[in-house]
């Protein structure tokens, strides 16, 4: 829906301050950024991750004693969805060299590199191949490709943005491999935004010292996903794709090596046993847990499955308490609520403004700081804009982009966003957007080393499921880069590893052992996980589902 008359009245205040602000931007003048000390203060006071309520210690597993958000803790302390006494591992339904779990950017990159290395690959995906957060990533992918830039500065920006909590070897790998990833994608035929001579168009982003963000329109992730998926489809002799078959549990062999997984056919409710010499977890993040009830930008299947399965084979995680709130999720119109407005909008010069049309923050602070500043402005200072459905927002002044860079820039640089708003009667090159922080990204995840190896031989992890590279805060464009960097590394390493592997008898003993730990710790009625898909039934409908067993019998 277009803005209401009341909202249009408020937009006039934004228009009133715009000429001065545009003049400022043209002179390369900015609202002052916060000092490191000021950042810390605003984070502690207003960022949902830094506040204490809704958190607790977990009682079992590799991270026993660590503190997590309630929604995460209860999944770490969950039981298997498989009745172990009925599961028969002796006759696998599928056998392969490498099993990739997850069909987003990391999983597909891993599958491609594993097949390059000569391995036969099965890729199991929860929904369709490509349904992932990768496809939703809009703004771009980082790599130090410019002459004024280098992996050194990519490292510095990344670890500074992560408040120096990042795992150093992973950051080093990311900075090192990033230009290689871009060259790989270019060779696969990805349509990057380029100048006429082929030079990559690059931009600033929150926390950048150099323009390092490469893009493809404002659907960079979708373009990456389309290209790598298309390439995987060209290799059907080496890569078999099993859609609507999420993994339910990992299988180990008697020596403790990873030996495959049990998949669940969502349509027939059968379980399949896959025997594999190596397994790559690329299951993505946990946005659909809706921590603290926040709206989220994630795809439908982002339910933390990989972390849960890894936990039961003894692979711990780091920084999982840290959730990234993207500062600019849509709050109006209703059908776009929770959708992400790429940081590129601010990179192109759009200011963030309060109800009076005034600036109150540097628009390109690291994301967590920016989020905290928006929450503070709305909640503490009461200067947010209330929508007709009771949601709170702040203005993101997109029309000034055209005034700075020339008419038509918004439409050219942000085509998908332009369409998404135009569809609902809002022209973002003429009217500002209304935004508020939205749950966006799982900063932490399972522990790996720079070759994407976990502590379990034959088990690898890449993409949002793994943690450490971003520390407690991720910079824009580093997630699209980490899925390619670590996806490629995991695939290549797994293809090498399988050559010397001799699998022993497969077992689910680790699950029984884990469930005993739950009982011993006094955890009653644990959740059953992976949860695979979120449930959006209303309380009213749920209350009327009176069946004892599914219709048709058990």
């Amino acid at each position: 829906m277009a803005y209401t008359p009341e909202m249009k009245e408020l937009i006039k205040k934004v228009e009133a301050t715009r000429p001065d602000r545009v003049a400022m931007a043209k002179n390369n003048e900015h609202y002052p950024a916060l000092t490191l000390k000021e950042r810390e203060e605003v984070l502690n006071k207003y960022h949902p991750d830094y506040q204490e309520d809704g958190k607790r210690k977990v009682k079992v597993g590799p991270n026993k004693g660590d503190v997590f958000q309630e929604e995460v803790a209860e999944l770490l302390e969950s039981q298997s969805i498989i009745k172990e006494d009925e599961a028969d591992l002796s006759e696998p339904d599928y056998e392969t060299d490498v099993l990739v779990i997850g069909g987003g950017g990391a999983g597909t990159s891993a599958a491609l590199l594993a097949s390059d290395g000569g391995a036969d690959v099965i890729m199991a995906t929860k929904l369709r191949h490509g349904d992932s957060n990768t496809i939703m990533a809009e703004g771009g992918i980082q790599a130090a490709s410019q002459e004024c830039d280098s992996p050194f500065y990519h490292y510095i920006d990344t670890i500074g943005g992560g408040h120096f909590t990042n795992q150093p070897d992973l950051v080093s790998t990311l900075a090192h491999d990033a230009p290689l990833s871009i060259a790989w994608l270019e060779r696969l035929g990805m349509m990057f935004n380029k100048l006429e001579d082929g030079r990559m168009v690059v931009r600033h982003f929150g926390g950048s010292s150099r323009k390092r963000l490469h893009s493809a329109g404002d659907m960079t992730g979708a373009e990456i996903m389309r290209v790598v998926r298309d390439e995987a489809r060209n290799r059907s002799d080496k890569i078999t794709i099993l859609e609507f078959c999420p993994a339910a549990e990992l299988i180990l062999d008697e020596d403790g090596k990873c030996a495959g997984a049990i998949l669940y056919n969502l349509e027939t409710q059968e379980f399949y046993v896959v025997k594999a010499k190596a397994v790559i977890l690329a299951t993505g993040g946990f946005g659909r847990l809706h921590i603290k009830g926040f709206a989220c930008t994630n795809h439908y299947g982002a339910t933390m499955d990989g972390v849960v399965m890894a936990y039961r084979v003894g692979v711990g995680n780091k920084y999982l308490y840290s959730t990234q709130y993207h500062p600019t999720g849509v709050v109006y119109p209703e059908q776009n609520v929770g959708l992400l407005i790429t940081e590129k909008v601010r990179g192109l010069g759009a200011h963030v403004l309060n109800i009076d049309g005034e600036q109150f923050c540097f628009p390109l602070e690291p994301r967590d700081v920016e989020s905290a500043e928006l929450i503070c402005e709305a909640m503490e200072k009461g200067k947010g804009v209330m929508t007709p459905t009771g949601r709170m927002g702040l203005w993101l002044d997109s029309p000034m982009i055209d005034e700075i860079h020339g008419e038509g820039t918004v439409k050219k640089e942000l085509p998908a966003k332009f369409i998404q708003f135009a569809r609902h009667g809002i022209d973002i090159s003429k009217e500002p957007m209304l935004v508020y922080p939205t749950l966006h990204y799982q900063n932490g995840g399972v522990n790996i080393n720079s070759d994407a190896e976990t502590v379990v031989p034959g088990l690898y992890a890449a993409g949002e499921v793994m943690g450490g590279v971003h520390g407690e805060n991720r910079l824009m464009g580093n997630s699209l880069q980490d899925i390619i960097t670590f996806g490629r590394r995991a695939g290549a390493k797994a293809a090498e590893y399988i050559k010397g592997v001799d699998l022993k008898k497969p077992t689910l003993d680790h699950v029984a052992k884990f469930e005993k730990e739950l009982t011993d710790a006094g955890i009653e009625n644990p959740k059953t996980a992976p949860i695979i898909l979120p449930d959006y039934s209303t309380d009213e409908v749920s209350a009327k589902r009176w069946t004892k067993v599914p219709i048709g019998g058990e």
């Binding site: 490709s145 230009p179 035929g189 298309d230 489809r233 009830g293 930008t297 439908y300 209330m386 959006y536």
Partner: protein
Amino acid sequence: MSETEKTQAPKMATGDRAILPEGARTIPVYIMGKRYEVPETLTIMKAMEYSGFKFVRGAGCRGGICGACPTVYRKAGDYKIYFGLACQTVVEPDMFLAQIPFYPANRTAYDLEEIGGEADAVHALYPEVFRCVACNNCTKACPMDVDVLAYISAVKQGDMAKAAEISFDCIQCGMCASRCMGEMPQFHIGQLVRRIYGRYIQPQAEHLKKRVEEINSGKYDKMLEDLTSMSKEKLTKLYTEREREPDLAPSGEWMPEDTQYL
């Protein structure tokens, strides 16, 4: 009640679970012919979930970019057929809707390294492109407003750049193929053309090639190794003192004063 308290009131939608606020209106919609009352302003996807449907197929990114939720609908008293994404289309009273989560379409495998940049290769892989009768049903069915007919015409004429540009917003939902009188898989053809364009027609990035060579020669290995063992104090100093490339500096022209780490 202050503004702050108002926003924390319990009666609010959480995550994607919709609620019917007090005093809000419902409207009737017909999901596969069956009537349900749903709150107005909801998307088709959230309205179906509000009605008690749980998606396995037909839901993906929920943000209008993955192509999992194409929906076909009609309105009472209107002969027209409409297409939209369930996550991006708002319900209207007396809408009759069904989802098409999958539509069969043949895809031909190819080797990008061998295919070359000529349109002939595309014509050879998809000869059915010449069965197009320019009926424009494909374009009418596209929920992304892609001019499908225009890019298919460009393919026929051998204008790969034009076809790549026009098809760029394609989310591969398959609705074009579902309505095609020539029975072709437009979205697979568009994908092929875009990869050929990116690989063979768009000029390659020379500065990137140079950087790849530098990395492979080991130029940055020592620098990165030093960084991984550097103290937080030293890293903080480097972080706070780093120069920022000016916003409006043309690409490839600005250089920092300190060039020892480039």
